[in-house]
């Protein structure tokens, strides 16, 4: 219960920030992907650096998750063909719609009518994948459900 509530709250913050940063506007994404605007790249790199620094600090300061008492892990995987091929397919779709999954979700919340089609397509794509039963390619969550091939290390080992 606490975990779900926390997930929802982080989702609201993440989604609100995506909207405020313009990421839910396909025109903004298009300008970035045509290398006309640096905003997306600066934002992305700063998000990446904060996430790296924050998780390194966690590895020193905190052994267990605050809500679930799970040991903090650092799941790392070796790149396989599916990461590259899947990302090519994803990248084409991203550039055609000029929206990726986070902004597609916020567009629906913002009441942008076109987003209904993008969202329907994404859910259909996910459904098609799940129907193929490719259970071994499911690292969307870590924790007990999955054991990535590269191995899950404790976050404290990430330094």
């Amino acid at each position: 219960m606490k975990t779900r509530l926390a997930g929802a709250i982080v989702g609201v913050v993440f989604g609100f920030t995506l909207c405020w940063s313009g990421m839910s506007d396909p025109a903004v994404i298009r300008a970035a992907l045509l290398l006309q605007e640096s905003y997306l790249f600066l934002m992305f790199v700063s998000a990446f650096l904060v996430a790296v620094a924050g998780q390194r600090l966690l590895a020193r300061a905190q052994a267990r998750a605050l809500l679930t008492e799970e040991t903090l892990t650092c799941p790392r995987e070796r790149p396989g063909r599916r990461h590259v091929v899947g990302s090519v397919v994803f990248g084409v779709g991203w550039a055609v719609a000029d929206a990726c999954p986070g902004p597609i979700a916020t567009q629906v919340g913002q009441g942008i009518p076109w987003a209904v089609f993008t969202m329907a397509g994404v859910l259909a794509g996910v459904y098609l994948f799940l129907r193929r039963g490719a259970a071994e390619t499911e690292p969307a969550a870590d924790g007990p459900r999955t054991a990535p091939r590269g191995g899950v290390r404790k976050l404290a080992g990430a330094r």
Binding site: G7, G11, G91, L123
Partner: protein, 154 residues
Amino acid sequence: MLDQQLAWYVAGPLLGLCVVACRSLFNGRLGVTGGFSEIVGQVSRGSARLDWRGWFALGLVAGGALFVLLGGGDAFSGGYGWLTETFHGAERAAIPVILLSAGVLIGFGAKSAGGCTSGNGLAGSSLLSPASLAATATFFATAIATSFLIEALI
């Protein structure tokens, strides 16, 4: 205030802190595609019981709605990028087809790759997972190349 694009050096760190929060609170890897996958998986099994990933995705939708409720709706163009600029009148019937197809590529591709811009691009790559770094480099390069191709064609 919401009608001005938030400075990148505020927006980026906020998104990064969301990644850190998921790790710190419940040892989770933040990811939007994972949330969609949870929802699709549970609903197709006839269940509505979602884990935190599903609730995270629902939170995104709520975050978008909250942004509009607080007056942020007019901040950006209101159209749907090159599609609404390129297609007019009856031609706009093409837009749903294109968006549905692009959506299928996004959903299927991101699931195959084990994550999208958030799951691989931010959360996985910030753990320096080689698979996530490879995925991130690949989808950025592909999306940039595809955008230039579309620009050349329209």
